[in-house]
């Protein structure tokens, strides 16, 4: 059975694990250590605070191990903070994992008063509308040539894919919809 890890240093990891538990045929794993990181077949980096998760990744020595696994082809999906951690470029900041060729703007929509949710069809993922939740969300300002844009909203990129790396600025773990999970599990 495929082991699907969720990076569990901080943030909405329990929510991701709860969704994974209702999907048949996979084994969800909480990832807090290098040994757990080395054992997974796929990894989700949850929402949370990217600065906090990024610092913990460095402090625990997990950062270079994860970068190496990404180079070797590990499928990784980042939601919100996870998207920021995967990006090659962050406006005004140094990157963390330096993996997906995108330029990200943090807190692009503003403060909590600007957080919002909406319904949108993302053709690459599902024919049905998906409930999208944006919490102090980033957006993707631009993408490199190897990156496929999956969704835009009001002219801003909110989901992108490069090989087996997936990034969404919204939080499917906060909804009951499993379609983005199903898409990720096929990557």
């Amino acid at each position: 059975m495929e082991k699907v890890g969720v990076l569990a240093l901080q943030g909405s990891f329990a929510e991701h694990l709860a969704v994974l538990r209702i999907i048949p045929g996979i084994e969800p794993i909480e990832v807090k250590t290098i040994a757990q990181l080395e054992a997974v077949d796929r990894l989700i980096i949850p929402g949370g605070e990217s600065t906090a998760i990024g610092k913990l990744l460095r402090k625990t020595g997990m950062m270079p191990i994860l970068q190496k696994r990404i180079e070797e082809g590990l499928a990784v999906w980042g939601t919100c903070a996870g998207l920021i951690l995967l990006a090659k470029n962050i406006v005004g900041e140094e990157p963390y994992l330096d993996a997906i060729d995108i330029t990200v703007k943090r807190n692009a929509y503003g403060s909590q008063l600007d957080s919002f949710s909406c319904e949108q069809i993302i053709p690459a993922i599902s024919a049905k509308p998906i409930h999208l939740v944006f919490i102090r969300a980033p957006w993707i300002e631009s993408v490199g040539p190897k990156v496929e844009v999956l969704a835009e909203r009001d002219g801003r990129i909110i989901a992108a894919k490069q090989g087996r790396l997936l990034a969404t600025s919204f939080h499917p773990e906060l909804t009951q919809d499993t379609s983005v999970y199903e898409y990720f599990l096929k990557l």
């Binding site: 569990a8 240093l9 901080q10 943030g11 909405s12 990891f13 329990a14 929510e15 807090k32 929402g47 949370g48 605070e49 600065t51 906090a52 610092k55 913990l56 402090k59 919100c80 903070a81 900041e93 943090r106 807190n107 503003g110 403060s111 909590q112 008063l113 957080s115 919002f116 949710s117 939740v133 919490i135 102090r136 939080h171 906060l174």
Partner: protein
């Protein structure tokens, strides 16, 4: 429930497993962010100084809150006095990310808390037991924290409040439905929320710990007792080496179940904040008793 109320609960979910640190200026806010805090609480005096200096403690200067907002990218919270409608309107106008309607400040209203449904901005409130937590959630709080006894560096009250809430939740989970109304009556809790907790076995919002956390071991203890994250007030910036202690508390909160990590980060932190025995605090100076 409105979309806004759900989004406000959602933000608290993003803070889970993290440490929220009290800061009094831009420099401290940067140290907190650098140490891995998930949010900062901007206030003029940390609770231990409020306790020492006495007098009326009010909402902080908006200028200081704006400076801190500009200096960090993590969420910024700020405190209003219990029931102070206008202080809450001011913080909402400033666009802070979360308001703490806090017993650490001197209450503005000795009978009523804010109707937090009237605001777009999310609120966090303190509680000592399940009834108090559900009253605050009923009023619209999107996040809870146990009160503890702020500014003492003494964990005993935070432990008592967390144990009380967790134990009452377990009690409710095992109650037959006909006993729920009497529980609601006895604990002064809204009936619909009592039913929801009994069904789900958990609070409908995220619950952190606060009030007395001074060491990495204190933070790990609160996580073990069921807390979903911690607030550290005076414990960081009233200690000998704030940056190092802040980093250590962040690590201990993530790895609370790994004693080796907690032991390692607890080494050589210098002096913790000075502590106060709860029994020596006068009734008027007991912050946790403020709130109705």
């Amino acid at each position: 429930m409105t979309d806004r109320a759900i989004l406000n609960r959602n933000l608290a979910q993003m803070l889970k497993g993290g440490v929220i640190m009290d800061v009094t200026n831009v420099e401290e806010a940067r140290i907190a962010e650098e140490a891995g805090a998930v949010a900062v609480m901007a206030l003029e005096r940390v609770p231990s100084d409020i306790r020492k200096e006495g007098g009326v403690a009010r909402m902080s200067d908006p200028k200081m809150i704006k400076e801190i907002k500009a200096a960090v990218s993590i969420p910024v919270m700020a405190k209003v006095r219990i029931g102070h409608i206008v202080e809450a309107e001011i913080l909402e106008a400033l666009g802070v990310d979360y308001i703490d309607e806090s017993e650490v400040l001197t209450p503005a209203d000795d009978m009523y808390h804010l109707d937090k449904h009237q605001y777009k901005i999310p609120f966090v409130c303190g509680a000592r037991n399940l009834g108090e937590a559900l009253r605050r959630i009923g009023e619209g709080a999107a996040m809870m924290r146990t009160k503890g006894e702020a500014g003492t560096g003494n964990i005993v009250e935070a432990v008592r409040h967390m144990r009380t809430i967790m134990s009452q939740i377990r009690q409710l989970s095992n109650m037959p439905s006909e006993e729920l109304m009497t529980f609601a009556k006895d604990n002064g809790a809204p009936y619909d929320l009592v039913v929801e907790v009994a069904k789900n076995g958990k609070l409908p919002v995220v619950n952190f710990s606060a009030g007395g956390i001074a060491t990495p071991a204190d933070a790990a203890l609160m996580m073990k007792l069921g807390s979903e994250g911690v607030f550290v007030g005076s414990g960081i910036f009233r200690s000998a080496d704030p940056a190092k202690r802040a980093r250590a508390i962040v690590m201990a909160t993530t790895y609370y179940n790994d004693p080796k990590v907690v032991a390692e980060v607890s080494e050589d932190l210098g002096e913790a904040m000075p502590g106060i025995e709860i029994a020596t605090i006068s009734e008027a100076q007991t912050f946790a008793k403020r709130g109705w």
